[in-house]
């Protein structure tokens, strides 16, 4: 798994919502292939950032049961959108957690996600 795609520079974790300031790493090896000479952050790496932030809020390893909807409204890249804010809220529903998250650059929503996660054994 990519461990150096981004770093978290600041975090505010509340009871069931949180905000993270993250910085994309232009040297991550994913950009060698996505795409050669034209670095674009893979949409699925945004999904990973959201999940890892949700794990910090939940205090547990999580796995997606379902991504109800994830919209990619703006392209992300360490060259053009290096500093991102991630807002996330989690609500317990029976055994699962319902998550709503936004990834933003300069107050503009770039990615919005609604999904259901479960805690991993």
């Amino acid at each position: 798994m990519l461990s150096d795609f981004y770093i978290i520079r600041n975090e505010h974790i509340g009871q069931d919502c949180a905000e993270f300031d993250v910085l994309l790493n232009p040297d991550c090896k994913v950009y060698k292939g996505h795409f050669p000479g034209e670095p674009v952050s893979p949409g699925v790496c945004s999904i990973q950032m959201v999940k890892e932030c949700a794990e910090k809020v939940a205090g547990a390893r999580l796995c997606f049961v379902q991504i109800k909807q994830c919209r990619f409204q703006q392209l992300l890249s360490p060259a053009t959108t290096p500093e991102l804010k991630i807002e996330i809220s989690l609500k317990q529903e029976e055994d699962n957690l319902n998550a709503e998250a936004k990834v933003m650059y300069n107050e503009v929503i770039c990615v919005s996600l609604k999904g259901t996660l479960k805690k991993e054994a």
Partner: protein, 144 residues
């Protein structure tokens, strides 16, 4: 009509992604359309954690399957693959995380296409079993 299989670096004729970001290793076509795509999960795959391919790797495999589908039609016109981006993932259910050594097979069904946007349904399962891995709806944009 004979079947054509793209594999190894032949995949590069269909998609613009390059290692370590290539998430399909076989594309089967017939009657000028992509029938299915496959990926055998290697242990050094960048989306493998603890011996399992994680959810984002499954979604990327599906996205590249869609890229190969549109890439195949540009290939038939003698052109290079164009960059494609995921616009939206919807109703994406994960049933089982596949393991290193498993081979995924994905079947796509196009449900709409207009002005560089393709809407499709995808079903992914583990080859040789009836085990479903994921199903989802995806919208892909091609760079114009």
């Amino acid at each position: 009509m004979e079947k054509t299989i793209f594999e190894g670096e032949g995949i590069f004729k269909l998609i613009p992604q390059r290692p370590p970001m290539v998430m399909i290793d076989k594309v089967l076509t017939q009657f000028e359309i992509v029938v299915s795509t496959c990926l055998t999960i290697e242990k050094d795959n960048i989306f493998v954690d603890n011996g399992e391919l994680r959810e984002n790797g499954i979604v990327e495999h599906i996205a590249q399957s869609a890229a190969a589908m549109t890439g195949y039609s540009t290939f038939l016109h003698g052109k290079e693959p164009v960059l494609g981006f995921i616009g939206e993932v919807k109703k994406c259910c994960f049933f089982k995380l596949p393991e290193v050594g498993d081979t995924l097979e994905t079947k796509l069904e196009v449900i709409g296409e207009a002005a560089g946007v393709t809407l499709l349904n995808a079903n992914t399962q583990i080859v040789g079993t009836e085990q479903k891995v994921a199903e989802c709806q995806m919208k892909i944009f091609l760079k114009q």
